[in-house]
């Protein structure tokens, strides 16, 4: 078994993924109390959280849509991060994804979500993040932040606790928020990353970038024996050797347990193969999927 040059060194970080996620969580929880809410972060972390370091890009998109203002900073952030990393952010950096990973580790039987549920993310992005705020403003009941489970968990709950501890009048979140939060906490037990898989609008943006991002999963099909190790390593029921850069992939890189799948990038891939080389393909090409 071989690896593909320097870029595969990143693949070797897989065993440390939990610690990388935990480290980023610390960063997003603003240990230095900087409260840089003028900066759009690249992850799904509610800025209403008393410990949020940066602004949530989806919250900014939704609020700017309600104001009928184009959010250049948020779009720029998403383009840079998406173009560079794709959904690698989801698997390694996002605190809400980390929470779902942790809850998912509770040993309860997991069910697989149908593939079509992934389209829900695009519907949420187009509907609740852009259209509803644009047409009806932020006071609408379906304004994204009003139904966001991350907002409920990271913003509303800590604020209720903080107000209770400080003996201040408590601002209770709406019943809808409690119901959505309860539903997702329950779903996290029975499905791997239900929010990311079905509804996350930020994941929708990054997943679209998976097809073109600088970092990508490369399958060395000439060496693939069809052992399906990568299938069993994938918690989301994907088939990395057939479609490594699937939009549903969160790039947790568990599939790189097989040395024939590596994380590569277009800028400093040390063993680039010439165009005529027949042994290396990007496995998300449609005819490959259907063959």
């Amino acid at each position: 078994m071989t690896r593909n040059g320097g870029s595969s060194a990143l693949s070797r970080w897989v065993q440390w993924r939990v610690w990388v996620q935990a480290s980023f969580l610390l960063l997003w929880l603003d240990p230095l109390a900087l409260r840089l809410h003028t900066v759009c972060g690249p992850v799904f972390h509610c800025y209403s959280c008393p410990l949020a370091a940066v602004a949530c890009p989806i919250g900014v998109l939704a609020n700017f849509s309600a104001l009928h203002v184009v959010p250049f900073l948020a779009i720029g952030t998403l383009l840079v991060i998406g173009g560079l990393l794709g959904s690698l952010i989801c698997g390694w950096v996002c605190p809400f994804g980390f929470l779902q990973d942790m809850v998912g580790r509770i040993p309860v039987r997991k069910f697989e979500l149908p593939a079509w549920t992934a389209y829900g993310r695009y519907a949420v992005l187009a509907g609740l993040v852009v259209l509803v705020p644009f047409l009806w403003g932020e006071s609408h009941a379906l304004f994204f932040c009003r139904v966001c489970p991350a907002g409920a968990l990271e913003g509303a709950v800590p604020n209720v606790i903080r107000q209770a501890v400080a003996h201040q009048p408590i601002t209770w979140p709406s019943t809808t928020k409690w119901i959505i939060l309860g539903a997702f906490l329950t779903a996290m037990l029975f499905f791997w990353r239900p929010w990311c898989t079905m509804l996350c609008p930020l994941g929708a943006v990054y997943s679209l970038c998976n097809h073109v991002s600088a970092f990508y999963l490369k399958v060395h099909t000439d060496r693939c024996t069809g052992c399906k190790l990568c299938h069993s390593a994938c918690n989301h029921g994907l088939r990395p050797n057939e479609r490594a850069n699937d939009p549903r992939c969160i790039r947790c890189l568990e599939c790189t347990q097989c040395d024939h799948i590596t994380l590569a990038n277009v800028f400093w891939d040390t063993k680039a193969v010439p165009a005529e080389e027949p042994t290396m393909i990007e496995s998300n090409t449609p005819d490959r999927i259907r063959s």
């Binding site: 809410h37 003028t38 900066v39 759009c40 800025y47 209403s48 602004a55 919250g59 900014v60 609020n63 700017f64 309600a66 104001l67 009928h68 203002v69 959010p71 250049f72 900073l73 779009i75 720029g76 952030t77 998403l78 383009l79 840079v80 991060i81 998406g82 173009g83 560079l84 403003g137 932020e138 304004f143 932040c145 009003r146 907002g151 913003g155 604020n159 601002t171 970038c209 073109v212 991002s213 600088a214 990508y216 490369k218 590569a264 277009v266 800028f267 891939d269 680039a272 193969v273 010439p274 165009a275 005529e276 080389e277 027949p278 290396m280 393909i281 990007e282 090409t285 005819d287 490959r288």
Partner: protein, 84 residues
Amino acid sequence: MKVDVNTRTKTVPTLLILAGLILLGYGLLLRSHPVDGPASEAKKTTVVREYQLVREVTVGGVERTELGHLRRTYSGSGPALCPT
């Protein structure tokens, strides 16, 4: 279909990243918005940079009026919490 992934994907991510950097630069350095004062001080219009507007929306500090203007929702120190 056999594809040289390096050749195929290098241009697109480069363009995406460049476009993102241009938008970030524009939003950070050039973009600003006139924001009216709160209803009680409606004539006080200030120019707010986009990054300041990002901060304002995180606490519901700005709203859109029926006339399409941006208006601050508070006077004095801003709200501590997001309205949702």
